[in-house]
Amino acid sequence: MSDVADRVKKIVVEHLGVEEDKVTENASFIDDLGADSLDTVELVMAFEEEFGCEIPDDAAEKILTVKDAIDFIEKADS
């Protein structure tokens, strides 16, 4: 697993207070991890901070699963 994936999952676990093994790559923040819409906004803020990148609103709206977040950040990084 990539370093980005580890860090993303750690943020999700901390922020949503869910068990680590529930945070699979295909887990949806809202449907599987119990996030509300404001939680997803906060997650994006946390990702921006952790990775020092800016996630524009239109991209943020498409980040629905753990994998979406990892993919976006890896792409932004490269």
């Binding site: 404001l38 906004v41 906060e42 803020m45």
Partner: protein, 246 residues
């Protein structure tokens, strides 16, 4: 009670009678206060009166760029993220509806409604992260009761109450409260200009039999800004001597 030591605040319209008093009271309670307004000299004078706990951040809220940059500028000047936002700035362009020009409708909505909302939105990021924030909007009795000649002003002030309630619901679980204070008739430079006959007529409608003082508005703001008011959100606190009981 009502200790704001270590907190930061931004007060818009701090050049006015009510805004200046709010800034003073928050600073007296220990907050570091950023004063915003269009008249730099007047801002400096208010800041000098307050002393070390005040910084000046001039802004013209009818200018889009000025609005968009204000929270960032205030946080830089305060040396930290904002804890308390007081949307106090407001303008009037009174006219009977039949004669009200489009630009006078729009100007009042832009400054009193839209800019206040944008400042609230732009200050949320830091507040969400710290799980603490206070947004206090100075609306008006007119936003609830209406007033001839003030369709634009009443619309903006009623709109402010509406978005405050929506935003309050969005961020309540993050320790952020959003409330309004609605002054009735308060002694300021503006109301000083009224003639004796006008004043007498006005006072007839106020059970308390007198105009309010800016200090009485500032006290309401101080309460809503305090930790003690953590369980009060989405409310409008009317400070009007009983003029309207709603």
């Amino acid at each position: 009670m009502f200790d704001l030591a270590g907190k930061t605040a931004l007060v818009t319209g701090a050049t006015g009678g009510i805004g200046g008093e709010i800034a003073k009271v928050l600073a007296e309670a220990g907050a570091k206060v950023a004063l915003s307004g269009t008249r730099q000299e007047r801002l400096e004078a208010v800041a000098a009166e307050i002393g070390g706990n005040a910084v000046v951040v001039p802004a013209n809220l009818s200018d889009k760029e000025s609005v968009d940059g204000l929270i960032k500028n205030a946080e830089e000047a305060l040396g930290g993220q904002l804890d308390i936002l007081v949307n106090n700035a407001g303008i009037t362009r009174d006219q009977l509806a039949m004669r009200l020009k489009d630009e006078d409708w729009q100007a009042v909505l832009d400054v009193n409604l839209t800019s206040a909302f944008k400042l609230a939105r732009n200050s949320l990021r830091g507040m969400m992260k710290r799980r603490h924030g206070r947004i206090i909007n100075i609306t008006s009795i007119v936003g609830v009761t209406g007033n001839p000649g003030q369709t634009n002003y009443a619309a903006a002030k009623a709109g402010m109450i509406g978005w405050s309630k929506s935003l309050a619901q969005e961020v309540a679980a993050r320790g952020i409260t959003v409330n309004c204070v609605a002054p009735g008739f308060i002694t300021t430079a503006m109301t000083e200009e009224l003639g004796d006959a006008q004043k007498e007529k006005l006072l007839g409608g106020i059970p308390a039999g007198r105009m309010g003082d800016s200090k009485e508005i500032a006290a309401a703001v101080l309460y809503l800004a305090s930790d003690e008011a953590a369980y009060v959100t989405g409310q409008t606190l009317h400070v009007n001597g009983g003029m309207a009981m709603i």
